[in-house]
């Protein structure tokens, strides 16, 4: 895993790379450092024009507060945002799912998994402070990860941002045992920066984030599908279809959920609808081919499978589409009467 050095934190670990690389690196190191330091301070300031449309001050005072027990900031913070998304859950109920006693803490992936288990979308925000402000202005508390120590000896912490004040330059959090922690914008962004700016909101399946991104939203919805929360995934896909009617992905998601739920006729219609929007979509072509094969419609299935493979060549989907084509080649032709 690489990380762009911020400020003076880039250590010099030079190994067996070519000499030219080494000397070039040394000669540019100072310049790069200067440039990056400038960048880092710039990144920590909120651009006033970008937040001009937002209220100057927001505080979600209704957000519940669960004082954490020793080290258990993960369950406490997650319970706080889940409550705000209408999930009746307490930190104690979440602890066995997200707390690792050996590490005295939780991992971000576990918080995401526990969110999905409760039919909520774990929507990860852009690594931009503005994204947090947008969600707060829309009335949603934001779960954030912070590094409250140093980059080289990190101490991870989860907290919930419940407010900001653009004039006073502060953020307000439910954090640990403190119900209302007011941090300077600068101080908060530093701890957030050191945790790679990780932030998420819990969305009800019919809900969109304040600044919805199709790919991010669909990924969060597809994660629900992947663990078998089909009804929640379906609602999320329907919401996405309304929001992005020109994208094939929400319709394709619906088709996959219908197929998984045994609604083959509905699934076929949806795959065809997805292909009407994006004829070369690999997944829609492949899955429609599979569905038609199961129905005995070999000729039509072969056409879709071939198109899927054509566009999947060189992508991670090549293997899956290739096996569909192979399977269709081996399939014994049945009478057309079977294809209904």
């Amino acid at each position: 895993m690489i990380q762009a050095p911020r400020g003076a934190s880039a250590p010099l670990v030079l190994g067996s790379e070519p000499r030219a690389v080494r000397s070039a690196f040394y000669s540019f190191f100072t310049l790069v450092l200067l440039a990056l330091t400038g960048c880092a301070t710039h990144r920590n300031a909120l651009d006033p024009t970008a937040v001009a449309h937002l209220p100057r001050r927001v505080e979600l005072t209704d957000t519940p507060f669960y004082p954490q027990e020793a080290y258990q900031c993960g369950p406490a913070a997650l319970a706080t945002v889940l409550r705000s998304a209408d999930v009746a859950v307490t930190p104690d109920e979440l602890t066995p799912e997200v707390f690792l006693p050996g590490r005295k803490g939780s991992l971000a992936v576990e918080l995401i998994a526990a969110t999905r288990q409760r039919d909520r979308l774990a929507y990860r925000l852009d690594p931009d402070p503005r994204a947090i402000l947008e969600e707060l202005a829309a009335g949603r508390p934001v779960l954030v990860m912070q590094n409250v120590a140093l980059k080289i000896v990190p101490t991870w912490h989860f907290a919930v941002v419940i407010g900001y004040d653009l004039d006073a330059q502060t953020f307000t959090l439910r954090s640990g045992t403190i119900e209302r922690l007011v941090m300077s914008t600068r101080g908060f962004l530093r701890t957030w920066d050191l945790a790679d700016r990780w932030a998420m909101v819990a969305l009800k399946p019919g809900e969109l984030p304040a600044t919805p991104d199709m790919h991010k939203y669909m990924t969060a919805a597809a994660e629900l599908e992947a663990i078998g929360r089909l009804e929640a995934a379906k609602q999320a896909y329907e919401t996405a279809r309304e929001q992005w009617p020109n994208s094939a992905w929400p319709v394709l998601g619906l088709a996959n959920v219908q197929h998984a739920g045994g609604d083959l006729r509905g699934a076929e219609e949806s795959y065809r609808a997805a292909l009407a929007i994006e004829p070369d979509n690999i997944v829609a072509n492949n899955n429609l081919a599979e569905l038609l094969l199961a129905r005995g419609c070999l000729d039509e299935a072969r056409a879709f499978a071939a198109r899927a493979l054509k566009h999947a060549t060189g992508t991670p989907l090549e293997q899956a589409t290739l096996s569909t084509v192979t399977k269709l080649e081996q399939a014994t032709p049945r009478s057309e009467a079977e294809c209904r």
Partner: protein, 126 residues
């Protein structure tokens, strides 16, 4: 008689192995939405990095560093999804343009070389 018994056992075993294998072949190979989305994302990230690699000033810089750009390109394919997306993100946030243009190019080149494992300069402390 013993030979016949041995033979029949072998045939039964062969038959059972074959029948074990065949359902896997016939199994539906539906692609989940998440798998599809991730593949699309990987493609987009790969395209972004390749586009940067194709730029003349980046190639020149690599040449100056004695690194073969085609080799780097080949190594990109071996990156995991997470590594690739991190690299694309880092390129996005790298300083570029204006008076920083030259530094930006060098920085991006170093980022790419680091990602594919040619150099090892941005490693964090253990």
């Amino acid at each position: 008689m013993k030979r016949l018994l041995q033979k029949s056992i072998v045939y039964v075993l062969i038959a059972s192995l074959v029948s074990l294998a065949s359902p896997a072949v016939a199994q539906a190979q539906m692609i989940g939405t998440l798998t599809g989305l991730r593949a699309v994302e990987r493609d987009a990230n790969l395209a972004k990095v390749s586009a940067v690699l194709a730029r003349a000033e980046v190639r020149d810089q690599m040449k100056a560093l004695g690194v073969d750009a085609t080799l780097v390109e080949a190594r990109l394919a071996a990156l995991t999804d997470a590594e690739l997306s991190q690299l694309a993100q880092n390129i996005d946030s790298a300083p570029a343009g204006g008076v920083l243009a030259v530094i930006g190019v060098v920085f991006i080149v170093l980022l790419i070389l680091e990602a594919v494992g040619v150099i090892d300069i941005f490693k964090k402390f253990p």
